[in-house]
Amino acid sequence: MANTPPVIYLDNNATTKVDPAVLEAMLPYFGELYGNPSSMHSFGGQVGRTLADARQQVASLIGATSEEIIFTSCGTESDSTAILAALQAFPEKRHIVTTRVEHPAVKHLCEHLDRLTGHKHRVTKLPVDRDGLLDLEQYEAALNDDTAVVSVMWANNETGVIFPVEEMAKIAKNRGILFHTDAVQAVGKIPINMAVSAIDFLSISGHKLHAPKGVGALYVRKGAPFAPLIIGGHQEKGRRGGTENVTSVIGLGKACALAGARMEEENGRVRQLRDKLEEGLLSKIPNAILNGHKEQRLPNTTNISFEYVEGESILLHLDQHGICASSGSACTSGSLEPSHVLRAMGVPFTAAHGSVRLSLSVFNTEEEIDCVIDKMPGIIAKLREMSPFWRSSHQGSVGGANCPCECS
């Protein structure tokens, strides 16, 4: 592999690089500082104090108090814990409101709740418009006396579109309904202040903000009803059994502190790089469409569809140049249909299969962005040259095997 190009990592909504400072903070706890934070002796106690610091660092990033933070193993565990806790708080209520564009961590949980609770729940999945936005009137109309919990993501992982969760949480609160938000893509990228929020539960994932994989946190508003998902020892004040993943939790704390300090850079320099990348690709490549609302969006994400070509092919060509990205095409989703997010937005099939998500971080440089703007047009042109739909007289179905597809 003599000529392997350097990696240009633009897949930060999938996972992020562990920040060197985070790794450094963690290392001692892999080695000599192996004490159990719950122990009575001072050898373990010093670890306990660092754990408390980490809890405070996580809390500070989102304007919470450290008592409101529970450490978990990942964002998915936080989501499950919150939603199941809310349902247990209202055992007689059988209705959940969520959206059609949630991450599988929430989507699949809601679809299979009966296995966990023994009850069938009615799930209202709010639709989104072509820009990926929700209709708040529709949201209000969906709430009723049987609604136990609302779970709506803060920002979408595929498009970066931000939902007005603060406003939605207030509406829920007025109706006595608990509100959970999967904020794994938002935390660290946009300012969040739980001190002035009506949100009851908020999920955080470590590896989305330069902490390692395998650690997450759940914010539970003080006074909100709670029931643990994992029952065991008295760790996390009995709210999550099991000895803490101390090393990773310390990494998460450090990462949150760094994210707070970099908030301006994220919304300044990173946003500018994202905009440059987006404008560069949209202006240089014909039939390229932006997916998601242009303004109401995370600063680091862009999702662009290149019509008449297929996403996996684009990704493999990018891979030849060391460029890492994602796609919502069927061939990359592990199923045979394109991303449920793009389908919910009504992105036409001509575009959904050719979608590419590029997600940046503070580690990206302008040279990297220039490289992508330089390479992408050639890749798309080559694939279009090969595509039977490009510039052909009959764009759309070419007949042959009949495909009256209505699976949007």
């Binding site: 055992p91 297929e310 045979l336 299969h353 179905s397 042959g400 009949n402 009256p404």
Partner: protein, 277 residues
């Protein structure tokens, strides 16, 4: 990430025979934009009746492009009778194998070849004549039956991997099971499915009413209440609480913890009880 062989990668990065043949003798088109992959194959016959040239245009993933490229190389120099014998397995083999979830790409290649030959001969595409089983991807029973035989498929999942049938909304899964059983000559051993799943609405209503009469009403009447079945929509049972129950604060708890539980135990475990408003 898919584990592609070097040969797949090589054909994908440097595809052979991309393009169109303006005066082609046969053109085969399969797939569509909606389906996520499509192949248009052009063949030109020489004076000796052999395939002198073949070109393609493909919309799809790496394995679709590689399958198309390999196919055009394989058929050059063959008579139509020889080309007809190429199976999807032959195409996959030529590429050193394909991930099982991607076998449908090789099937698409083979079908495009058949379509091109049929086009040359002026006859309808044989596989398109069957009953459309999967509406999402437009797959006919003939394609499915052939794939089951040729590739010795044993499950619906495998059928999806090879033909894409059943990979969309999933509504055809039962029919796929049926075809699988037919093709594997297990029609007579069709197991007696749980009868509970096949209840008609009328049967459900009857059983619910019987249970109300037998157990639930007598219990509620003890507290001065009563219950009435208002409607049934699939698994959603709408009821109205009468008498003391109608004003009781714990009525909803009664509905869920008592009525719904009883209905699930004795009628159907997927029922959901709701109060009429």
């Amino acid at each position: 990430m898919w584990e592609y062989t070097d040969k797949v990668r090589e054909h994908f990065m440097n595809p052979r025979n991309v393009g169109e043949i303006p005066d082609a003798d046969g053109i085969g088109e399969v797939g569509s934009l909606a389906c996520g992959d499509a192949l248009k194959l052009f063949i030109k016959l020489g004076p000796d009746g052999r395939i002198a040239d073949a070109k393609f245009k493909t919309f799809g993933c790496a394995s679709a492009i590689a399958s198309s490229s390999a196919l055009t190389e394989m058929i050059k120099g063959l008579t139509l009778e020889e080309a007809e014998k190429i199976s999807n397995e032959d195409i996959a083999e030529e590429l050193g194998g394909l991930p099982k979830e991607k076998m449908h790409c090789s099937v698409m290649g083979r079908e495009a070849l058949e379509a091109a030959i049929a086009n040359y001969r002026g006859i309808p595409i044989p596989m398109a004549q069957g009953e459309v089983v999967c509406e999402c991807f437009g797959v006919t029973d003939l394609e499915i039956r052939r794939a089951i035989h040729e590739s010795k498929l044993k499950s619906v999942e495998e059928i999806t991997n090879f033909t894409k049938a059943g990979g969309g909304c999933g509504r055809c899964h039962e029919r796929l099971e049926e075809i699988l059983r037919e093709e594997r000559q297990e029609i007579k051993e069709k197991p007696a499915a749980e009868p509970a799943k096949k209840l008609t609405n009328i049967q459900k209503i009857k059983m619910i009413e019987e249970l109300f009469e037998r157990e639930i009403r007598p219990a509620l009447r003890k507290d001065g209440g009563d219950i009435e079945l208002v409607d049934l929509d699939g698994d959603f049972v709408t009821v109205a609480l009468r008498g003391a129950c109608g004003t009781c604060k714990k009525a909803n708890l009664t509905l869920k913890e008592y009525v719904e539980k009883k209905l699930r135990e004795q009628v159907l475990d997927s029922l959901v009880v709701e109060e009429a408003h």
